[in-house]
């Protein structure tokens, strides 16, 4: 039943109707940025991108945790990997992300570091249980969607008395990054499609400032073509009306209010701190660090890892791409020195990165 219902969000006929209405609604260029990597892929994969009217300009934002992981943070991963008694547990996507000297976790593994790819933080916990003589360090990246799952795993570890489970936490929070993007006039972003599952945790209220302070509209939406077209129609309509509004168009999954239980777990284990974002630099209160109650789980403290801010990779324009100032194919390295097989920057590494999507779907 549910699957049949979900399939209707791909109904070609309904998409066609929405596209016609969108065309009628447009009164000029609409530069929209989607903040989530899964939206980026959905827009390309469904073929939607080539169907959009030319006035709709599509910008891919900093919505992929892999893409926004700073070079200095990757350096910290590499510093940790290979230490005696340490097993690094990570989501597979981080394996090929380059640090400041072009090295990545895959090269560290080839040199003998023990690196295990896991699908979820509880898998990393199981690894700690199976290797009592070692310390398993999970690399915590990702936004408000992932942070509660890592926090939940930390609580499980404590309950199970597993003291050989640690986390190197570089989680990031979406709303402060949006403020930076909105303050950047060069990209000229008119509207946002916000990450659907971040809102499954924080609700839609924390996004109100996009309309009230910056006068831009935004929607929280799902990942099917109908969801995205409905959002674009809404954004175009609000602009024509001269109104800015933040709207939840993903009610089947998200409510306007937060998931209080997930937030409670996240806020017990983590508290906000300044964070480094690849391409966006240091953003106040946009990251998460361990609260005092859980400092024993903090791999940063346990291994004395210092996060030295290092310069970006030479030639890589990921920063400009993530801000919406540059299209991936405008980067001089795109398809030349930088390909998915031999990525220079993280936007080409991650399957949800905009450079990888441009490459794969051969956008003109």
């Amino acid at each position: 039943m549910h699957q049949t219902l979900l399939r209707q969000f791909r109904d070609p006929e309904l998409c066609h109707t929405l596209l016609t209405r969108l065309r009628a609604e447009l009164d000029g260029e609409l530069r929209f940025m989607e903040v989530c990597g899964t939206h980026t892929v959905a827009i390309f994969q469904s073929g939607l991108r080539s169907l959009l009217p030319p006035q709709v300009v599509h910008l891919s934002g900093p919505g992929c945790p892999v893409c926004v992981t700073h070079e200095s943070e990757v350096n910290a991963f590499l510093d940790l990997a290979g230490r005696p008694g340490v097993i690094v547990a990570t989501f597979g996507d981080l394996m090929r992300v380059p640090g400041s000297r072009g090295r990545n976790l895959k090269s560290a593994q080839a040199e003998g570091a023990r690196v295990a790819v896991v699908y979820s933080p509880p898998d990393a916990l199981a690894l700690a249980r199976d290797n009592p003589g070692d310390t398993v360090v999970f690399l915590g990246v990702g936004f408000e969607t992932t942070a509660p799952t890592v926090a939940g795993t930390v609580l499980m570890a404590r309950e199970q008395g597993l003291s050989n489970f640690k986390v190197l936490a570089f989680h990031k929070l979406v709303p402060p990054a949006l403020e930076v993007l909105l303050s950047d006039t060069e990209a000229g972003i008119d509207a946002f499609i916000l990450p659907g599952h971040v809102s499954a945790v924080i609700g839609t209220e924390p996004y109100g400032f996009i309309a009230s302070r910056f006068g831009k509209s935004a929607t929280v939406t799902g990942f099917e073509p109908v969801d995205i077209l409905e959002s674009l129609l809404f954004l175009a309509q609000r602009r024509r009306q001269g109104r800015a509004e933040v709207k939840n168009l993903y009610r089947r999954v998200v409510s306007d209010t937060s998931n209080p239980r997930a937030l409670e777990v996240m806020n017990r284990v983590f508290r906000p701190c300044d964070a480094l974002w690849r391409g966006l630099g240091r953003i106040p209160d946009s990251g998460l660090e361990f609260t005092d109650e859980f400092e024993d789980v903090d791999a940063k403290r346990r291994y004395g890892l210092s996060i030295e801010e290092c310069p970006p990779l030479p030639g890589c324009k990921c920063g400009e791409v993530l801000r919406g100032r540059l299209r991936p194919d405008q980067c001089p390295l795109f398809k030349k020195a930088c390909t998915p097989a031999k990525p220079v920057g993280p936007c080409m590494v991650s399957t949800e990165g905009s450079c990888a999507a441009y490459y794969k779907y051969q956008v003109e």
């Binding site: 979820s120 799952t149 599952h197 009230s212 800015a244």
Partner: protein
């Protein structure tokens, strides 16, 4: 990297739901620790990295489709925030 997926609850034991993934036959386990309310078998969950984050609401999906097919999109009201776009002509403010 972050793949939240819809999954249908088959059974629940010790705060963990065993769920069917999408249309396939593969099963996944999801901790219910982050949910404010307990789901029931047959409920559709949004699962991310081993944890259920929300119970999905099929009635809302049906309502969205009904409104869109009826040409009523997007619905008015209950916005999180609403403001006039700076620089927009005043007479642009009219009802949808």
């Amino acid at each position: 990297m972050c793949l939240a997926v819809p999954a249908e609850v088959i059974r629940i034991a010790d705060g963990v739901a065993t769920c069917r993934l999408g249309e396939g036959q593969s099963l996944i386990r999801a901790s219910l620790m982050l949910l404010p309310d307990l789901p029931s078998p047959g409920d559709q969950l949004m699962v991310h990295a081993g944890f259920a984050l929300r119970i999905m609401d099929p009635a809302e999906a049906e309502e969205t489709l009904r409104l869109l097919r009826g040409g009523e999109c997007p619905i008015e009201g209950d916005a999180t925030a609403c403001a006039a776009i700076p620089g927009a002509p005043a007479n642009a403010l009219r009802k949808a």
